[in-house]
């Protein structure tokens, strides 16, 4: 999937991945896509909730090798 910006949140724990993602999205323009890689297992539900609450669209959420990958489209 194409993306405009990437956030490496590996090794970071709650709530840092969300806070960094919020900051990264703030620096992007509407319609752009942010790719996030995280290792915090709690981030799966957290990014879904974050997207729902903020109106930014969670395009995909996947796990491979204990790493979690998210694509979020900025509102």
């Amino acid at each position: 999937m194409n993306f405009d910006k990437e956030l490496d949140a590996r090794g970071l724990n709650c709530p840092l991945p969300i806070l960094r993602a919020k900051k990264a999205l703030g620096e992007m323009t509407s319609g752009q896509t942010l790719r996030i890689i995280a290792t915090d297992p709690g981030s799966v539900k957290d990014f879904a909730a974050f997207a729902k609450q903020t109106g930014n669209e969670l395009l995909s959420s996947a796990e491979n090798n204990k790493e979690f990958e998210f694509y979020i489209k900025r509102k």
């Binding site: 090794g11 970071l12 724990n13 709650c14 709530p15 840092l16 969300i18 806070l19 993602a21 919020k22 290792t39 915090d40 974050f50 609450q53 903020t54």
Partner: protein, 199 residues
């Protein structure tokens, strides 16, 4: 004739108003920015975390957040919070594990009775340094970092003036950007918030 029309209008209004009102209320609830207040009363390294984690996250979700610092919670807004401590004394829920060494060693829970902990000089300092190491090992932000992120995100910090005086503090002891208020200022804030927590 006019009485008939009036009756008709009343009937129509009775039918329409509840629906209209529901729609308006729902629209208003959806457009309102969620709001949270937290009363922060604890001044230890461990209990400093929940307010700043929740405040910074709520701000990231777009909420309006106010933190009210009172009693020992004043410690959390002092300029330097690197000296906050954690004590396993009187806290039987706190595991005592070592943040270094091989896995089998790290998994041991050093179940030291409180009465022993209380009599070993420097036990609290040791527990605090072990906790800080554990925090760093787990990729958890430092308390100062979370506080800064909360402030950057627009979380409002208000401080209980009564306890500032009670404990002999000065406004110069605290970080900038504080509002010094009393209960009468906090309560109306809390009244309009959907989420009110006491930590």
């Amino acid at each position: 004739m006019s009485a008939e029309i009036e009756a008709l209008i009343n009937q129509k209004l009775d039918e329409l108003l509840p629906q209209k009102l529901d729609a308006l209320l729902q629209e208003r609830a959806e457009s309102k920015t969620p709001k949270m207040t937290i009363i922060c009363t604890k001044g230890t390294l461990d209990w400093g975390y929940p307010p700043f984690i929740l405040a910074s996250t709520a701000a990231a979700l777009g909420w309006d957040v106010t933190l009210f610092f009172t009693f020992y919670g004043l410690q959390l807004v002092k300029k330097d919070i690197s000296d906050l401590k954690v004590s396993p004394l009187g806290n039987p829920g706190m595991p005592m594990k070592m943040p270094f060494g091989p896995d089998w060693f790290k998994s041991i829970n050093w179940n030291i009775p409180n009465v022993v902990q209380g009599n070993i000089p420097g036990f609290e300092a040791m527990a605090t340094s072990l906790m800080k190491q554990t925090i760093a090992n787990n990729g958890v932000a430092s308390l100062a970092e979370l506080r800064e992120l909360s402030q950057e995100a627009g979380v409002k910090f208000v401080v209980c003036q009564m306890t500032v005086e009670l404990f002999g503090f000065d406004h110069a002891d605290f970080i900038d950007g504080m509002d010094y208020v009393g209960a009468a200022s906090f309560l109306p804030e809390a009244q309009t918030a959907e989420v009110n927590l006491f930590i």
